[in-house]
Amino acid sequence: MSLKEKILSSYLAFEDYLEDDSPIHDLRNKAIKTFESHGFPSKKEEAWKYTSLNALLKEDYSIFPKKETTIEFKEVRKYFLHEIDTFKIVFVDGVYSSFLSSTTHDGMDICLLSAALSKDKYKPVIETYFNKVAKEDSLTSLNTAFAKEGAYIYIPKHKEVQKPVEIINFYTGSETALMLQPRNLIIVGENAHIQIIERHQSLSENAVLTNSVTEIFTEKRAFVDYYKIQNDLPSASLIDNTYIKQERDSVCSVHTFSFGGKLIRNNLNFYQYGEHCNSILKGVTILEQKQHVDHNTLVHHIAPNCESHQDYKGIFDDNSTGVFNGKILVEKDAQKLDAFQQNNNILISDKATINSKPQLEIFADDVRCSHGCTIGQLDDEAMFYLRSRGIGEKEARALLMYAFANNVLESVKIPELKKRINKLIANKIGVNLGFNL
């Protein structure tokens, strides 16, 4: 039985087990049909030209974990931003862990999608927002069909959330291979502020494939800073589908730090519906061995007087491969736009590859759009300069890599997170320079 067939038959069982009156019942049925007709994307599709899921799809994934596993906080403490107080929404093998979590309903909802789907009082919100910005492509539809659990965040207007929210998905390896479909719904009200950190972390050598969907709605003048930490084990793969709908004067930034994992595909989509929106997309990717990371971004400019800034840096060693496919789509009415896209790459090994492709589709005439892409090596002159000052080869290399990634790191607004990422980078390149840039 192929994975697709297995998924389709599991869906029937899943439907039986769910209660019928779920507000998204019809959506699910529609979504599974979409998945059934399209199947998994293949390299024949332009958007998947450089990323093949074939090897991943050969695994015999369980669609639902059979048993619940508990983990001790001390085993996983290091994956949290434990130096500061945070809200935590934690899932273990796709199941909510109240024990590891720390949530609130105190004037705002930082809780669970399953609760939002099952309680009447959330019904209007679900009807207004759920699946309203997500694309109906096959992977998103697959997630919609099985959507059951994830983070549900609703911040009412004028609320400034004082602590960052951590959304962490652990995978224990309780099954030999598991496929997960986390679904997050985040609504940030008018003039509200929030910082969110999302992480997927496997604790085992067993294979895991996560196909996650996150919908974010930023209302008028809302501020959202979203950080994705992708530093998983070589047995873990992630397809991240994130959709952001922005209303006027809102600012939303997404930083993606991709350091570990077998295959990562980031489908990051911004839709600017109101005037004076600002969308910020930044990424640092540092890969080695046979890792593969594909950043597929879309910024859809619909309203006038908006901005977008994309800045992705990649460092590729060994046989690793990277893809950057950045699309800027400018509608006729999106005049006076300022859109910027930059993708810079360093290839450390001559076996590493990067495919970088900007895609600009512009239907407005009064816009400023700039894009640039570089692919290079570490500069020999710079290496000699640093080494002649007593800095060893490895450290000099590391310093140049830090420097290369620095302007992305600089814009991380949570100091403890910035330190943590600095440390991850230091570990990744195997040095400790004893300071943070």
């Binding site: 300069y385 002649s388 007593g390 000099a396």
Partner: protein
């Protein structure tokens, strides 16, 4: 201190240094002058260990030890410092973080602990004052957008921080106005003592009024063709290099 014997070096099969002999004793200042393209920067880079150049013959000894095969950082740990003719811009690394890293990596290589933060700060302040460097300058990205003069002053700031045994200044005077030149020369002179030595590479006699050489060497086409006292620098300033070419031919 430094003993260079019959040094030949090439890049991509092109011979650039063609038999250099040079001995520098502790406490001495040597000036190396010569027309553009004669190999001055190459000599400096070869002493500092740039592996782009292949040493095909001869040797380089530092305090009696052959350093020809050492990596650039190992030479730096032993006290070699090169002030670059063209310092490299490194966006994203501040002047302060760079110098801290350089000092602590050098200490680590010698088996010493990191320099305590307070001591480091004090030293940075002291040396920045010596070279009349603004505090704001220290938090800027290394050499990025620096003027020619700022780059050179920053090189000498690093020199002052590292306190090397052998300092090689490659055209440190170019890009400096007369006031900056005096400050920089004063900075270098303050660091001089009986145990260290300086090699000054320059086109102009001007700098040598302030950093007074014990010997002046003329480098032409990869060879030292004439050596003399500081008077030689005045002669070169006045008459150019042609008369030396004639002398060499004769």
């Amino acid at each position: 201190m430094l003993k260079i014997k019959n040094l030949h070096a090439s890049v991509e099969d092109k011979d650039i240094l063609k038999g250099i002999n040079l001995t520098v004793n502790p406490g001495e200042v040597h000036a190396i002058m010569g027309p553009n393209g004669s190999g001055k920067s190459t000599l400096a880079s070869v002493i500092a260990g740039k592996d782009e150049f292949e040493v095909t013959k001869g040797g380089i000894e530092l305090e009696g030890e052959d350093i020809k095969e050492l990596d650039p950082e190992e030479r730096a740990h032993k006290g070699v410092f090169l002030s670059f003719q063209y310092p490299v811009e490194i966006p994203g690394v501040s002047v302060t973080n760079f110098i801290k890293t350089a000092i602590n990596e050098t200490r680590k290589a010698k088996g010493q602990e990191d320099m305590p933060a307070a001591e480091m700060l004090k030293k940075i302040k002291e040396k920045a004052d010596l070279l009349e460097i603004d505090r704001k300058f220290l938090s800027r990205s290394l050499n990025e957008g620096f003027s020619g003069g700022e780059k050179k002053r920053n090189e000498i700031f690093q020199l002052a921080m590292m306190e090397p045994k052998l300092a090689i200044l490659d055209e440190t005077d170019s890009g400096l106005d007369i006031d900056a030149l005096k400050i920089v020369a004063n900075g270098v002179n303050k660091l001089r003592n009986a145990d260290n030595a300086v090699i000054v590479i320059t086109h102009y006699q001007r700098l040598l009024d302030y950093i007074v050489p014990d010997y002046v060497h003329v480098l032409m086409d990869g060879k030292i063709v004439k050596s003399g006292s500081k008077e030689l620098a005045y002669q070169l300033e006045e008459k150019g290099y042609d008369w030396i070419k004639e002398e060499v031919k004769a």
